[in-house]
Symmetry: C2
Subunit: 405 residues, 2 copies
């Protein structure tokens, strides 16, 4: 049936046709058995690639190398490691990122310039290249290797983050698959968010990048775990056309369907990251409606989702709407206080800027759910946006100050 997006919870980067992947334990992480820390994902045919990277002014040399290569528009795969971020190590970082990519390219038999590289883990220590040199030849790439690859990029993640979506257009069935890792930064600094996406649709490079940027804007750019941004954040999207069919472009009849499918997958993976936030017990969605512009709606939703006090109130299941008001006022979004309404899990608690005599116990009880929903209507325009955050818990603090002697 055309026009519908099917969600595949146990899908992964090898769900689309023409991709192989794998991961091994090279010894970069100390956790021992059952742990992978070095992986390769590869398209079996030429592929185009789109990407977004950390906007920090201090980034890992792995980001620098991949960013240059993505600019060319095509790539065959990516080699990724966890345990070491290859960041803040001077010129050696570039040398090591280039060698790591070359070793992976040699192993799978593609041009070195077509291999991207990503790292996540400790900042400030050099990549142990001896282990990487020894590890790469052991990576077995198979069409079932998506899970092993996903495992190899995990750091403090408590579980795998992966999924796929499928849709049909003009009688052809297409897939988009993805894996991601989070989930905050811990001693001595994990750096941090990686997401790899693959599709067997043939997508025009310009459209691939615009569809990716759009979907990132409503997913990974709308989540907040602890307000900090990493030096290594990387999202890659490969398109290899292995499913056949005609090329998708912005002008295609099914362009919207591709966008919807990609957005659904991105939002799912982004929420998975928040759900697995360090110490998090529940997540919350903040939807801002009636804003003067999309930019304002995004600003307000993100500010509320990022507020330590809002996060703490979600932890305490406290319908503390004054904190939402405060974050809103601080956000810079245009607001008119007498037009603001606030809802918690659909219960109306503030009307025209003033408290309603709501039944507190019912609201508190209703907040005892895995995903609390806040809605704020500004009443001055037509634009809306949603952001997600996780609660701030004592465990987050304990986790992030764990070095204490």
């Amino acid at each position: 049936m055309a026009g519908e997006v099917e969600f595949i919870a146990d899908g992964t980067v090898t769900s689309p046709q023409g991709y192989v992947a794998g991961g091994v334990y090279a010894g970069l992480k100390s956790q021992g058995d059952e742990v992978a820390d070095l992986g390769i994902l590869m398209s079996q045919r030429p592929a185009s690639v789109a990407a977004t990277f950390s906007t920090s002014s201090i980034v890992s040399p792995s980001v620098t190398v991949s960013r240059q290569r993505v600019a060319g528009g095509s790539a065959r795969g990516v080699v990724a490691n966890s345990g070491c971020a290859n960041c803040a190590v001077g010129e050696q970082g570039i040398t090591d990122a280039l060698e790591m990519a070359r070793l992976a390219a040699d192993h799978v038999g593609v041009d070195p310039g077509e291999m991207l590289v990503a790292s996540t883990g400790i900042i400030g220590v050099e990549l142990p290249m001896a282990l990487i040199r020894k590890g790469i030849p052991g990576v077995e790439l198979t069409a079932e290797g998506g899970e092993a690859f996903a495992r190899s990029i995990m750091t403090t993640d408590s579980r795998l983050k992966r999924a796929a979506v499928a849709f049909e257009a003009d009688g052809v069935r297409y897939h988009i698959g993805g894996v991601a890792k989070g989930v905050g930064m811990i001693h001595p600094d994990m750096a941090t968010m990686l997401c790899f996406l693959t599709t067997d649709a043939d997508v025009d490079r310009g459209f691939l990048q615009s569809a990716l940027s759009q979907s990132i804007d409503v997913s990974f750019n709308m989540i907040d775990i602890d307000g900090d941004q990493s030096t290594n954040d990387t999202v890659l999207l490969f398109s290899n056309g292995a499913a056949g069919g005609s090329q998708f472009s912005g002008a295609s009849e099914s362009a919207g369907l591709f966008r919807d499918a990609l957005e659904r997958l991105s939002v799912h993976l982004a929420k998975e990251l928040v759900r697995d936030g360090e110490g998090a017990e529940r997540i919350f969605a903040v939807t801002v409606e009636g804003a003067a512009s999309v930019a304002d709606a995004r600003l307000a939703a993100r500010e509320i989702a990022s507020s330590n006090l809002v996060k703490a109130m979600v932890h305490g299941r406290d319908p503390n709407w004054g904190r939402i008001m405060m974050a809103l006022g601080h956000s810079g979004a245009e607001v008119e206080e007498p037009k603001i309404d606030i809802f918690i899990n659909d219960i109306h608690i503030v009307h025209e800027g003033k408290a309603i005599s709501y039944f507190t116990e019912a609201v508190v009880g209703g907040m005892n759910v895995p995903e609390v929903r806040f809605k704020v209507t500004l009443g001055i325009g037509e634009s809306s946006a949603t952001a997600w955050g996780c609660d701030l818990t004592e465990e987050y603090v304990t986790f992030n100050s764990a070095y204490s002697t």
Copy 2:
């Protein structure tokens, strides 16, 4: 001796000549005996006034009323309450703020338009005017009343914040005194920072405002407790000329001395707020040097002082310099990674963007102090700035999610 600023730790708003103050318990707070929650500070002579207020787009009507009156340039005093923020209550808030100021003006016998008003406490409930009407006539204003006044504005503060400075110019001894309250926002939302400053120097209004703005910029605008900003933040500075001497203006020979004295007092009070931050066990100073501009230095220092991960690492006494790097990269300040040096309590731990093999135990041990000092040198310019933050503790989270049932 001219040119030196004397610090008076037990000074207060009534240390300068010509000011009286007092506070009573009106019943706005439930803590019982020994608690004041309603106070008046007043100059016995006409005074000029300068101020800065919350830049939030949602502010208390008390802020709205005071902002309008301060625009006139003169005022005789301020009436302040704690327990209720008079915020997010619709039009009633303006009515109540005006009545509260009028009642206080009548009580002390000045023009109602010359009385400012400030509130701090719960958001979203109306001022209990019956209690305020009953309370105001009981406020006794005396030259020893600075402490009672300081007590009446406390909310979650664990101790009084007050001090004064004195200096001599042209044979006249001048004072600047101040009280402040913090210290974060707790259930169901304290809103939040108030600071009242007085001087017996006669200061030209334009210079008074510029000196205040400058000193706020390096003190209250450079501290971070939890990254949230309040709807009620107010700093007032009165100048009544009671000490005699000639008027200070930007062109006065002693203008710099007045600025220095005001800055010293403001920085002291600002650091007192951080030190008393909810759950805080220690504070830290972040000095950024060698920045391309003052704006960049401020941006970088504030971003580092505001990072949850840096705050958590101070709590854990963990010399996690990767987190400082990350916050720096995220700040938007111009940086060149190979020129960055980092020091913790003067111990050099990062040189030219890379870790030095520093003696970890010594650095960890050295962080067990009430005030940890981070210095970051960017090596690309001549500008510097300092910001202060407090550590993020499990107690902060417990405190701010305390409603949990």
